[in-house]
Symmetry: C2
Subunit: 411 residues, 2 copies
C-alpha cells in the first residue's frame, strides 16, 4: 500500500468518524442531488421562477428578475454538460410568443451577404448539414458582483450582480453557417462581419435600433458559427432561443442570437444600440462608443463548485469548472489558503473541445480550521486567470480568481 | 467556387424546389424536434408510458411492457448525449420503492473483498473522489428483433424484440471504485471478479438466487468501474438505478447494477441465476450454463438515425451513431445501395471517449428512386461490424449492419 494510500485512508476514516450530520451537510454542498429529488425540469409550480420558466428546476435558481435568472452555485451538476433545467436565463428584450416553436421546421431565416441570398426554412437548413459543438454559454456580465464589490467610493457599475451562475456548458446541434453560405454561392465579397438579428417583437414607441437584438462578430467566426436547433439533444426551448439560435463558439452570451431571423455577412458592424453603444469595454463612468472594444471573446476563467459549506476535517474533494474562452483550458490550480500556495488539480470527465469547460476534482485533506478555497486556470495560449479584473463601466468579462473565493470551516 | 460546392448548391436548390410538404416530412424524420414541443421530460400524462415513467417524453417511446420501454428510432437527439427523458428502460425485477431517493446521501453500500470491509453512505463516497465517464448504455438484447427475423423454421429466440432503441449515450458522475478500494486498504487478495448486487425487493415465494440481480465482471474492470450518483448532470433517477449505480464502461446493460447495495471483490463469479444460467452465449435451443461466455463486453455497432422516411430527391444529410464497445470507434461507412458500395462518413460533434458513441453525418445527393441506407462501423482494434450476427439462444449482442437497414423513396 503506497504512502499516499495510507494517508488518504487514515484521513478518510478520520473524516468520516467526525459525525454523520456534518458529513451529510458537507456532502449536500458537494452535490445538488439531495436538493433535487428528481431530474425533473418539467416539474410544474416552480417557486419564484417566472411562469414561462416554470418547467425548470425550482431549487436551482436565484431570480434577479423575470429576464435574469441565475443558476445557484454548485447546481450545474458534475457531468460537464449543464442540464437545461438548471441553465441560467438572460434576455435583453421579452421573448417572442411561444407560437414560434409550435412548428419549428417552418421557422424562416434570411441569409444575406451571399452570392444567392435566400430565406430558408429550418426544414431546409436540416438538409444542408449537421454538426454539434460544446460551448460555455456565459452572460457577458457573469461575475459583475465581484467587480461592483471592489469599486472605490463614488464609483458605480450598474447591471445584474451575477456571481458565477450566469454560465453553463451546452452541446448545440445544427448546421454550420459555412455550409449554408457555401450552398448559397459563398460570401458576396467585402464581408468583414457576421451580423445576426433576433426575432423578438420590438416594444412599440421606441426606435427599433434602440431595442433590436442585432450583433456583429468578426468574419473570422464564419468557420465556427452554428445555426442550432437542438440543445443537449433536445429541441431548443423558446427560453433559450428556439427554434433557431446563432451560436458563436467562445464568444460571450449576447453574441449568440436567439430566434435568429436574419444572418448577414456585412461590411460594417450594425449600428443597433446593443452593438454600437452597449457591450463595450470602457472605464467606469465613461460612455460606450463604437471605437471601444466590443464584448466578444471570453477570457480564461474558473471557479470552485464544491465544497461550499463547512464539514468535518479530513478528506475532502474540491471540485470546480474551468474554461479558456477561445482557447482550450490547459491547467487549473487550487489553493486552500486564499492564493498563497497552489496545487495542480486534475481534470476529470470527457474533454468536449476547446470551447467547452472542463471539470476538475482534487481530493485533499483539510485539517480543522478555516480554509479559503480558490482556483486559477491557464489556457492553451498561456493566459493565466488574474487575481482581480480591473473594473470597467459595464461590469463585463470578469475573470479574477479572488472574487469567487469560498471560505469554509472544518472541525 | 469548387465543383463540389456547385454540385451541392444545384442539388440543394433542386431538392428544396421539390415541394415544401415533402421537405417538411423529410425534416421531421431527421429530428424529433417537431414532435416534442418542449424539452419537458417532466410533462405529466405521458401516453402509454408506465406511471413511474410518466415524467419521460411521451412521444419518444415504444412500450413493450412496464419494464421494457424502447426509445423510438431517431429520438436520441443529435447532441451525442441522450436526454434522460428519452432513454430506454429495462428492468429484470421491479424497482425498489422511490423512498430510497428521498435521502440520497443516506444510501448505504457494502464494500467487501477489501483489506478493511465497510459499509459506506453515499455522503461518504462523495468525500473519496469524483470522476465522470461517457458510456453507451445498451441492453444486451438490443437488436434481438433482427436476429429473430432471420431464424430458420422451427427456431425460436424469446425475449423483447428490441430494434435499435434499447441504447443511449450517458455521462455518469460518481467515484471510481478503485479509489474506494484504495481508501479501504486495497483488495483482500485472490480477487478475480467485481461482483455487484442490486437493491431490488425480491418477490416472495421465489428462491433469492433465482431472482436477485447480482452480476460478476472480470477484475480487470476495477480500473474503470464507477459508482455513479449522477446521470447527465442530474441526480440519478430511481428508474435508472438511483441513488447509486455500478457502471462498467463498455459492458452491456445488465452488468451495470442499479441501486447497488453491495460491491465485492470475489474469487468466483456469483451463482445467482442471472449470472450462472442467463446472459450466456449459446446456440439457439441450447441451455445456458456457466461454462459459456457471459454477456460482458459490447461489440462494435452503428445504425442510421436519419432519414427514416422518404423525401424529395437532392441533397440529404444521412446521420447516425457508431460505437466500439470496449474500444473507441475509428471509422464509419455509409451505403445507399444496401451495402454494395460504401462511402466514409465524417464524425461530428465532440469525442466523449472510447466508451461513448459518436455521431456521424454525411451530406449526399439522393437521386429520385428507392435507396437502402445502411452504416458499418470499425473500432480502433480493427473489428468491423459484420453484415449479420449469427443467432444465439438469448438473442444477445446483435451488431449486424444489415438488420437496421432503412429503405427510403425519394421523388
Amino acid at each position: 500500500m503506497s504512502e499516499s494510500t495510507i494517508l488518504h485512508r487514515r484521513n478518510f476514516l478520520a473524516g468520516t468518524a467526525a459525525g454523520a450530520v456534518s458529513v451529510a451537510s458537507s456532502a449536500r454542498a458537494q452535490s445538488p442531488a439531495a436538493e433535487a429529488p428528481k431530474p425533473d425540469p418539467g416539474k410544474p409550480g416552480a417557486k419564484g421562477l417566472p411562469a414561462p420558466l416554470a418547467w425548470k428546476d425550482p431549487n436551482a435558481f436565484i431570480v434577479h428578475s423575470n429576464q435574469t435568472v441565475e443558476t445557484k452555485r454548485g447546481h450545474t451538476g458534475s457531468g460537464v454538460i449543464t442540464p437545461i433545467g438548471r441553465l441560467f436565463i438572460r434576455n435583453n428584450v421579452n421573448p417572442p410568443p411561444d407560437g414560434i416553436v409550435a412548428d419549428r421546421d417552418a421557422w424562416r431565416v434570411e441569409i444575406a451577404g451571399v452570392a444567392s441570398p435566400r430565406t430558408l426554412t429550418l426544414a431546409e437548413l436540416k438538409r444542408i448539414g449537421l454538426a454539434s459543438v460544446a460551448t460555455v454559454l456565459q452572460c457577458s456580465g457573469n461575475g459583475r458582483k465581484y467587480m461592483q464589490d471592489a469599486l472605490q467610493p463614488g464609483q458605480r457599475i450598474s447591471g445584474t450582480p451575477w456571481t458565477v451562475g450566469a454560465a453553463g456548458c451546452v452541446i448545440w446541434s445544427g448546421v454550420p453557417l459555412k455550409a449554408v453560405v457555401d450552398a448559397l454561392g459563398g460570401p458576396a465579397g467585402g464581408a468583414r462581419f457576421v451580423t445576426g438579428t433576433g426575432g423578438e417583437d420590438l416594444p412599440a414607441g421606441l426606435k427599433p435600433k434602440d431595442v433590436i437584438v442585432e450583433r456583429s462578430v468578426p468574419i473570422s467566426t464564419l468557420d465556427t458559427v452554428l445555426l442550432a436547433w437542438e440543445m443537449n439533444g433536445e429541441p431548443l426551448p423558446l427560453a433559450h432561443g428556439g427554434p433557431l439560435r446563432m451560436i458563436v463558439p467562445g464568444y460571450s452570451g449576447v453574441n449568440n442570437i436567439k430566434y435568429v431571423k436574419t444572418v448577414a455577412l456585412t461590411e460594417a458592424e450594425t449600428d443597433a444600440k446593443i452593438q454600437a453603444a452597449s457591450y463595450r469595454m470602457h472605464g467606469v463612468g465613461a460612455k460606450a462608443d463604437p471605437a471601444q472594444p466590443s464584448i466578444w471573446e471570453q477570457p480564461v476563467r474558473s471557479w470552485i463548485t464544491a465544497p461550499l459549506e463547512g464539514g468535518p476535517a479530513g478528506r475532502t474533494v474540491v471540485t470546480g469548472v474551468a474554461f479558456g474562452g477561445m482557447n482550450a483550458v490547459a491547467r487549473v490550480e487550487v489553493s486552500t489558503d486564499g492564493g498563497r500556495s497552489w496545487t495542480d488539480a486534475p481534470f476529470v470527465g470527457p474533454d468536449l473541445g476547446r470551447y467547452a469547460w472542463r471539470q476538475f476534482a482534487l481530493a485533499l485533506d483539510l485539517p480543522a480550521g478555516t480554509h479559503v478555497l480558490v482556483s486559477r486556470a491557464t489556457d492553451a495560449a498561456g493566459h493565466v486567470q488574474p487575481e482581480d479584473t480591473p473594473p470597467n463601466g459595464g461590469g463585463y468579462s470578469y475573470n479574477g480568481w479572488r472574487g469567487p473565493a469560498v471560505t469554509v470551516e472544518t472541525a
